[in-house]
């Protein structure tokens, strides 16, 4: 199946009356490695692991090896369940807590689903599973929504390597946010055009995001960034489903991200030499961590 660009994808969806999720299923089956039942079984396996990771991490207070993270998802759940100062909706609280749960498990070297990477593995599962629970969506709907997110990521990965080292965090949490936005629109029954606009809006706001991990660890700012990104994806999906279109088409937005990634200074691409990693607090922490590590 010849799918090169998002405009090809939109054309396919419109010609054959497919959702992005249905087009994604067709795409994967057409690769000839797995039939439809096998593709859906693999998607279910991914969703099951995503749920299992969230469950094991959600109320865990175990710290990561560096001590920088651990116990945050528990705090959000406690705030959600008990605080009279909460003002966001249940689905939003869950999205934030679930992303933290996954990222905290990740930093404990536990099992996660890279989506599209491990450093950005919190966003897609949190958004889709919180949505399923709060909106009572079927497993079948979520399988197609995850496929839709996957196809968005796949088309972007033709243009840029999805790693902070290659193109900054816009290629990791940025891409996960755009994938999630498309997944939400698909799950909520929006049109393919709205799905791509949601992705474009999300990408436009994530463009230029640097990868600046403190001490080179996938923890600060990654863990909390994943948590906030789910809300970001929700906002982009809401705008798109309100029929607010993206002035710049998605293919051009992706091209711009590719160019921004190339222009980005190496110190801001995962080398832990710039951005937050170069702040006095980060430098002091790093010195102490490696001092302990060598003793």
């Amino acid at each position: 199946m010849m799918l090169q660009t998002f405009s090809d994808l939109l054309q396919l969806c419109q010609q054959e009356s497919l959702s992005i999720g249905q087009a994604a299923l067709k795409y994967e089956v057409a690769r000839g490695e797995k039939d439809e039942a096998a593709v859906l079984a693999s998607v279910r396996m991914m969703l099951d692991q995503m749920k299992a990771t969230i469950q094991s991490g959600l109320y865990s207070d175990e710290k990561s090896m560096s001590g920088l993270s651990g116990g945050f998802s528990h705090k959000v759940m406690t705030f959600f369940e008990q605080s009279d100062k909460k003002f966001m909706s249940p689905v939003e609280h869950k999205m934030m807590a679930y992303a933290l749960a996954t990222m905290e498990e990740n930093s404990r070297m536990k099992k996660i689903v890279a989506c599209p990477t491990a450093g950005a593995s919190g966003v897609v599962p949190a958004v889709l599973i919180a949505l399923q629970e709060e909106k009572h969506l079927s497993d079948q709907t979520m399988e197609l929504a995850l496929l839709a997110a996957g196809l968005v990521g796949e088309l972007v990965s033709r243009r840029m390597y999805l790693s902070g080292a290659a193109a900054g965090c816009q290629a990791e949490v940025g891409v996960a946010t755009g994938m999630s936005a498309a997944g939400i629109v698909d799950a909520m029954g929006g049109t393919p055009q709205q799905g791509l606009d949601a992705t474009a809006i999300a990408f436009k706001n994530m463009m230029g995001l640097v990868c600046d991990p403190v001490a080179g660890l996938v923890e600060v700012p990654c863990v909390k960034r994943n948590s906030v990104a789910g809300i970001h994806a929700s906002a982009a999906a809401t705008l798109a489903m309100a029929d607010i279109y993206s002035f710049i088409p998605l293919d051009e937005v992706v091209e711009a991200m590719v160019k921004v990634g190339q222009l980005m200074h190496p110190s801001l691409k995962e080398s832990a030499e710039g951005g937050l990693a170069a702040t006095p607090t980060a430098v002091a922490f790093t010195k102490n961590l490696f001092h302990q590590g060598s003793s």
């Binding site: 799918l3 994604a24 795409y27 994967e28 690769r31 490695e33 693999s42 998607v43 991914m46 692991q49 560096s66 498990e105 990740n106 930093s107 404990r108 070297m109 536990k110 099992k111 996660i112 689903v113 890279a114 989506c115 599209p116 990477t117 491990a118 450093g119 593995s121 897609v124 995850l146 496929l147 997110a149 996957g150 196809l151 990521g153 796949e154 990965s157 033709r158 243009r159 840029m160 390597y161 999805l162 790693s163 902070g164 080292a165 290659a166 290629a171 994938m179 991990p213 080179g216 660890l217 996938v218 923890e219 691409k269 995962e270 080398s271 832990a272 030499e273 961590l289 490696f290 590590g293």
Partner: protein
């Protein structure tokens, strides 16, 4: 006579891939490029060696060199050499499973000519020989082996792959593919190149199943075949 094969730049970009490359793999954290990618590069090195490994030196470049400790890149590399897969929770304790394997990590100076996450894996093998494998982690757990000893290759672990270096002469492809056909194994892709007519040539054959060792021995016995690597695909 060893020689340096010119790099065939077949970029992994622009090639349609599986959605499960993007939503997956199921892996042990914390980093798909530094942990899972490291496991997979070392797994491929183990497949390429195809015999017990006595000692291993990992030379880490660029981002691998700067951040390997925090990402568990060292544990991932060891785990891959020991045969663990990306979703194995024992990666975290890889140092406990090394047994008699000797290992060294070397942090190398920055080299901007190399991709950001590069490792050179130098293996000391049971038969007394040494093998050097250069690989790169491309993001999201995707990997690329670009060199085996003096030879440039383009190996991603997506298919069982047969890599051959041989003398360019008539009938070579036929002799090799005959051995594959006799096993009723399908060829997914076949890439050939040569330096010059009658000079050294290269063949990389991606298969739908791994070729049995008996057939590999048959291919090794073909006159003027210098080097044969029979490399399994990475487990998903």
């Amino acid at each position: 006579v060893p020689y340096l094969w010119p790099v065939q730049d077949e970029s992994p970009l622009n090639t349609p891939g599986s959605l499960f490359d993007v939503m997956g793999p199921i892996m042990v954290g914390p980093s798909s490029s530094h942990t899972a990618g490291a496991v997979r590069l070392a797994q491929l090195a183990r497949f390429i060696a195809n015999q017990p490994i006595h000692h291993v030196t990992f030379q880490l470049y660029n981002s691998f060199a700067k951040t390997y400790r925090g990402h568990g890149t060292d544990r991932g590399l060891l785990a891959g050499i020991l045969g663990l897969s990306v979703n194995d929770e024992r990666i975290r304790e890889a140092y406990q499973f090394t047994g008699s394997l000797q290992y060294t990590f070397q942090v190398m100076p920055d080299d901007s000519s190399l991709p950001p996450n590069t490792v050179s894996i130098i293996l000391g093998l049971q038969d007394g020989t040494q093998q050097t494998i250069v690989g790169h982690s491309l993001g999201g757990g995707k990997v690329l082996i670009s060199r085996i000893d003096e030879y440039h290759v383009n190996l991603r672990g997506e298919y069982p792959t047969l890599v051959l270096f041989y003398q360019d002469e008539p009938g070579m492809i036929w002799q090799v593919t005959k051995c594959i056909a006799e096993n009723k194994i399908n060829i997914a892709t076949l890439n050939c190149a040569r330096r010059a007519k009658g000079s050294q040539a290269f063949m990389a054959i991606c298969l739908d199943a791994l070729l049995p060792e008996s057939s590999v021995a048959q291919i090794k016995a073909i006159q003027n075949v210098y080097v044969v690597h029979n490399i399994d695909r990475l487990p998903s």
